[in-house]
């Protein structure tokens, strides 16, 4: 495997799987899945104007997240409703704007042309994202299990929530070029759900999620290289197999 791709794979999958732990525990699985589609119009405009797809994707995601955050507070919509509305609109805009030849790449990702600059950029941003998530882990966890208890603790919830959503946006924007918008959501969800099946504590779930994320990604990308298939699809298939195995383990434990 190409060194640049190797670095990008590890950083992207670890960051996504780490944030996935909170996404799953908050039961926001669909939200992350749908949010990744929001990146599409951002990538489209980036392609049209010749700027970095990452910048376009992150900008679109950030606007969507800020919109969701403020509308949720102002109009008391549920987060799922808002994401549903913004998602379909974004998908529509994206498909209209993206030139047809780039559409497949945006939807399913491309691993063939990761340059050294891009790899370095992804490594720096991704590592910073992982470090910040580890540092703010307790804060994110507080808001995850009980809003009631988090309130009693006197920590302002809005700020933590906004930080968390921004972190998710960053993770999605980092991975989207490689796995594409359709499958990025699964990169966040699948390792965390699989880890939850076999974990006995939050620490173990987090550890397993990150490990599984990296294994799934590297495994999928290697398979894609070997058999010349779409990388995003191969990654998700490997994830699906490991998830099924975790279910078997879980069934034995319950027995």
């Amino acid at each position: 495997m190409d060194f640049n791709l190797f670095i990008v794979s590890i950083v992207v999958s670890a960051a996504a799987a780490l944030l996935g732990v909170f996404i799953i525990l908050r039961r926001l699985a669909l939200v992350s899945d749908v949010l990744s589609h929001v990146a599409l119009p951002g990538m489209a405009l980036a392609l049209l104007w010749g700027i970095q797809p990452f910048v376009g994707a992150f900008t679109a995601l950030f606007i969507a997240i800020a919109g969701i955050f403020f509308m949720e507070r102002k109009f008391a919509f549920s987060i799922e409703t808002l994401v549903g509305i913004i998602f379909t609109a974004a998908m529509g805009i994206g498909i209209v704007l993206i030139p047809e030849e780039s559409l497949i790449e945006s939807l399913f990702g491309n691993i063939s042309n990761i340059g050294p600059h891009e790899a370095l950029f992804t490594a720096i941003i991704g590592s910073a994202l992982i470090a910040l998530t580890v540092i703010f882990f307790t804060k994110f966890a507080r808001a995850t299990f009980s809003q009631e208890l988090a309130k009693g603790s006197g920590v302002p919830q809005g700020k933590t929530e906004f930080m968390f959503l921004t972190a998710v946006a960053l993770a999605i924007a980092l991975g989207i070029k490689v796995v594409g918008t359709l499958l990025m959501g699964a990169l966040i969800i699948v390792p965390a759900v699989t880890a939850k099946n076999i974990a006995w504590s939050l620490k173990s779930m987090t550890f397993f999620s990150v490990m599984l994320g990296v294994v799934v990604f590297l495994g999928g990308v290697s398979l894609a290289n070997a058999f010349d298939v779409v990388p995003g699809a191969a990654v998700i298939l490997v994830g699906g197999v490991l998830f099924a195995l975790s279910l078997v383990l879980k069934a034995f434990r319950i027995r």
């Binding site: 307790t138 009980s146 009631e148 208890l149 309130k151 504590s201 939050l202």
Partner: protein, 239 residues
């Protein structure tokens, strides 16, 4: 000495008055029960005291407050892999590093759990333990901030009767040992009788205030819950 005073407190939520012109005071070390029908504004009053909802009127604290809060419900996914120890690391009042904590922090957490007879649960997942055990853990968590006042919002709402029998004596001893002031919301009037030094009855407005003996007379209860309400006292056996 007066701990705090509530003066002419009103709260409006979603355009509706949830509380109107409520005034009372609480002495240091006093156990106060808030009673009233559903929707009477009891939880809203606790929220106002916590500083969680905007209000009109005044809340005057005569002492520096350190609140321990046991919320009405702690809804969470039963399949969540979070151990009791991790629950303390996440929701503890003093920040402790989550990934690696010291032996001293561990001893401290065990100490708080011991106070509610739940030390053996430390490595259990919170999804595995019973409602009663979970409630004890949450009480220990509220105590971990070393509060001087404890707010309890229906502490036995989700617990079976067996669990309920153990929670109240436990709470009583916890409160006595730490000489806490406490505010409790309860529907069980016989618990109120045993537990409280003072009762405040709410039905959006203040309906009555006084010792359990005077307030729980049938005339006052009638005014609060409708006529014909009397208190049937079932004795909780003291061990």
């Amino acid at each position: 000495m007066t701990f705090f005073e509530v003066k002419n407190l009103s709260v409006t939520r979603d355009g509706e008055r949830a509380l109107e012109h409520v005034s009372f005071s609480v002495q240091e070390g006093e156990s106060v029960a808030l009673i009233g029908p559903n929707g009477a504004g009891k939880t809203t009053l606790l929220r106002a005291l916590l500083g969680d909802v905007p209000y009109e009127g005044e809340i005057v604290w005569h002492k520096k407050k350190k609140i321990g809060y046991v919320p009405q419900k702690f809804d969470f996914d039963k399949t969540t892999p979070l151990t009791v120890e991790e629950f303390f690391l996440v929701y503890g009042k003093e920040p402790r590093p989550f990934w690696r904590h010291s032996a001293a922090a561990d001893r401290e957490i065990r100490g708080f759990l011991k106070g509610v007879k739940a030390e053996h649960l430390i490595h259990k997942s919170i999804g595995e333990i019973s409602h009663g055990e979970l409630q004890r853990v949450i009480i220990a968590q509220a105590m971990s901030g070393r509060p001087n006042i404890l707010f309890l919002d229906e502490p036995t709402a989700n617990i079976d009767i067996e669990g309920e029998k153990t929670i109240y004596p436990l709470l009583k001893s916890v409160i006595r040992e730490a000489s806490l002031t406490s505010i409790i919301i309860s529907h069980d009037l016989s618990v109120v009788y045993d537990f409280a030094d003072k009762v405040v009855c709410l039905n959006k407005k203040m309906v009555c205030e006084g010792s359990p003996e005077t307030v729980l007379g049938s005339a006052q209860l009638g005014a609060l819950y409708g006529t014909g309400t009397t208190l049937y006292r079932h004795e909780h056996k003291k061990k």
